[in-house]
Amino acid sequence: MKQLIFKELREQFKVAVLGLVILTLMVSLAFAAYGTQLQQVVWSMGQKTSDSLQPLLRNDLLIQVSFFCAIFGTLLGWLQIRAEKHPDLWAFLVHRPIPRTTILRSKVVAGLLLYLAGTGLPLFGLILVVSIPGNVAAPFEWAMALPLTSICLVGMVYYFAGLLTGLRQARWFASRGFGLGLAVIANCSLFAMPEFWHALLIIVVAGTLLALTVWGSFQTGGFYRDQPVAGKVALTLASTASVLVLIGLLFALSINFLASRGGYTYSHYQLTREGKILRVTQRGFDEADITDLDGQPVLDEKNGRKITLKDLQQRYAQGVSASVDVEQRARRNNQVGESFFNLARFFSPWRVQDKILWYLTADGRLVGYHGISRRYAGTLVPRGTGGSGVVDDSRFLLPQNYRYSYLNNYNIMQPGVLASAKTAYVVDLEKRELKPLLTVTNGDAIHGFSEATSVIAPATNASVLILTRKFIRLLDLEGGTKLQLPYMPSFPQYPTVSVFRYELTNFVVRLEPDYFENKISGGKLLSRVEWVNQDGSIRNAKDLPKLPEPAQNSRAERFLIPLMPPPFPPWSWDEPYRIWNLLRILPAALCVGVGWWLGRRNNFTPKALAGWGIFHLLLGLPGFLAFLAVQEWPATEPCPGCKKMRVVDRESCEHCGVSFAPSEKTGTEIFEPLI
């Protein structure tokens, strides 16, 4: 085995070195780009935005490395097989007194060593550089290296896909590259995983499945027939995954195509500057029906025509929104923002002051780093009781838009308000002080806040919306109350509050139900709107009618639903999809029938027939396509008995039972016994 490993290392060494050089170059360029962006952010005082102030979590680097690892892994695997693709060299390799499994193991050990050397070294180098204080002007945690690590590891799944692609005795334009589908699924799934161990699990499962397919194919030189059962099953599943990816792509393309042509419909309510609520039903990107709550079209006063989306945008009421318990809800709702790839899991850039970048960390601290020296500059935390009571007020709550790059052109214009569970503060970064704005008492606690300048009042009259357990408060920066209302209906059913100003002095307050709570209650929670006078008295209140769910109301979509395997979660049980979901059983049943016929025709054992029948029933058309992709059909020739085409790998005709005749004698045969 040592000799084989050495041989493989020697053969693919150049490829690994090439990979290492390219990735080192990519990583170096990304680090240089980080330096440039950092300078821009510092010198523009945060007006130049960047969501990648931690090089390890830069989106562009993650995507580039992702592509690189996929290509490098695939290429390395493919080249390892390609090197012995000549039948004679393949024979030289496999005709030796060791099991093929040992030969493959040597290939894989060498291949993975080279892969890890080619990708792991540059990435480890980057992580090491970033971890050294003074190199990056942002907080560092070792967990920040996990996204890059997972991307590097998923490349090993591609490596197995590359091996399989090299091995498979299938046509290039057909199913030879079908192992890649599973690797693509594994790769894409990484970005949605909440924890690293979830990603690791996906990598291990996909990697093991593909390793099994490679093992099975290696035993037979790439043919499906004669493979061990485990190899056959793994190959079929991997191929099914690829078919699903292809169907998914087809689906996404058609949806995208149709959505841009009005196939996608969704409705929402929009408040105007006059305090009116309109219902907007949007189809596609720029087509919409705009009606009042009675369903009457809204007409333009000037020309009497129906108003368009563009007209409506001019009339939007501006306001401020805040949500309660942002962190807990994000976690509970399993939002994409919770992926371990998200920078917000660690910190969010908050402000730039005197060339110091201030970050709001996920554990509620303001941490500063000098933008030029890239050194740690200091930390600001609320002077709280440290969580000895019911609530922890020794840390800042996370603002509503914490997860969406808090440092941006709009936010840096805000006065800079943060809140702990007990106190809201105006943060003075120049003096590094926290000026208390509001402190709640009597068992009350702050659950959400948001700040606004020009949207609700002139910049000189900035406002802060604070949601406590009992009240909705709109304050000015001196702590004066502009509006105070009881928080009713309250959270957890109504966690989002928006306050709009209309007619200069009055307010509209809108309380939005939580999506998941509403789902649990069967959609009974309605969006509530209150028209409030300046003195806090409610002039009017209304529960807005329930809006229909967004719909891909396209014919193509309905036709595509039946292509999905029956056990997959239904697209939607609502009309018009219910019947289409039920129809998914029909293609599956048809596939069972055709699969059964093909199996009988090609001499399948009863066990194989039953196995494939169940497989087709469960996986429907994608499973059937995978079945066609992996099977190698024997040749057929006319039967001299019944004249029908019969398969050649049986001892007799499957139609009439006539045996294959021996070769016709010519009378010139020369046979003599040799023994």
Partner: protein, 309 residues
């Protein structure tokens, strides 16, 4: 045990798409012999060899090598089978010595003396890179790598393909050297009938995927015979002759090649009433060419009214 054939096939059949590459091949190769496997290009020799080694799955039939199903040859058995491929493919980056070291790591019975002896016989330098070797040298190295493990059965797929006469002679000498040990069996395919004649005990002939002959070398040579007949005028049309292969007709002469020449054949030929009739002795090459050549009659008459056809 020693009476058991080292290779046995029963109804071995293999298709590539709709084309039948090997049809219903049944064969037995005795232990301790040199067995030549002959046939024209594309007749299915390499396919058969690949099926024997379990590198290709037969569509029908079965094959066993050293008493084991060829589809399940265990590693211990592979150690007893040497296989030389027709294109002598090796890892180009290896040196001759590295190739030897690489191969020796897998064979406990590796005989360094044989390896050195064969590469010396072919004039190979141990430090020479495989990619820089000529085809003949590469064939020599492949042979050394195949012989050094001291295999019980040697399967050679057209080992002399593309070799110059000197290299070919070296190869044949190596084979003769090996067969001095009586328990060794060599199964080889070739197009060089002079080599076959020098070393082979038995031969098998594949014609268009079908086994047509399997016998001792001498039997084959004696079975294929040519009769030369002279006529006063134009030779008359041929009657049905048993074992007829081909005939060559000129103005006053008719040469007929057939197998299994016997009284019945003689009677049929004498019915043509030739002026003279004699048997022409054939070498293996002529016998083989006649046997696998185009069947039927050829005419070569040049007169005022007729042309060669």
């Amino acid at each position: 045990m020693s009476d058991q054939p080292v290779i046995r096939t029963r109804g071995l059949t293999r298709y590539f798409g709709a084309k039948c590459a090997v049809h219903d091949l049944s064969l037995e190769v005795p232990r301790g012999c040199v067995f030549a496997f002959l046939g024209r290009n594309g007749s299915g020799k390499s396919t058969t060899i690949r099926m024997l080694l379990g590198l290709l799955r037969p569509d029908r039939g079965e094959a066993s090598v050293l008493g084991t199903d060829s589809r399940q040859l265990p590693p211990e058995l592979r150690a007893r089978i040497g296989y030389l491929t027709e294109e002598h493919q090796l890892y180009g980056w290896m040196s001759v010595r590295e190739a030897g070291d690489f191969q020796s790591a897998f064979y406990p019975r590796w005989n360094e003396k044989i390896f050195r002896g064969v590469i010396g016989h072919f004039g190979l330098k141990p430090e020479a890179r495989v990619k820089h070797l000529s085809r003949g040298m590469r064939a020599g190295l492949c042979l050394a790598l195949t012989l050094a493990p001291d295999p019980e059965l040697l399967i050679l797929d057209d080992p002399a393909l593309g070799l110059d006469p000197v290299a070919r002679r070296s190869l044949v000498e190596s084979m003769i050297y090996l067969t001095r040990r009586s328990d060794r069996t060599i199964f080889f395919s070739s197009h060089h009938l002079s080599d076959v004649e020098r070393v082979a005990d038995y031969l098998a002939v594949l014609d268009y995927s079908v086994l047509r002959a399997c016998c001792p070398l001498e039997s084959f040579r004696t079975s294929v015979q040519e009769v030369q007949m002279r006529f006063a005028g134009v030779p008359p049309p041929l009657p049905t002759i048993p074992g007829f292969l081909q005939a060559f007709r000129t103005e006053h002469e008719l040469r007929v090649t057939c197998v299994h020449y016997n009284r019945e054949t003689e009677k049929a030929l004498r019915s043509l009433q030739p002026v003279a009739m004699e048997m022409v002795p054939l070498g293996l090459e002529e016998a083989f060419i006649s046997y696998l050549g185009e069947r039927g009659e050829k005419t070569f008459i040049l007169s005022d009214t007729e042309v060669a056809s």
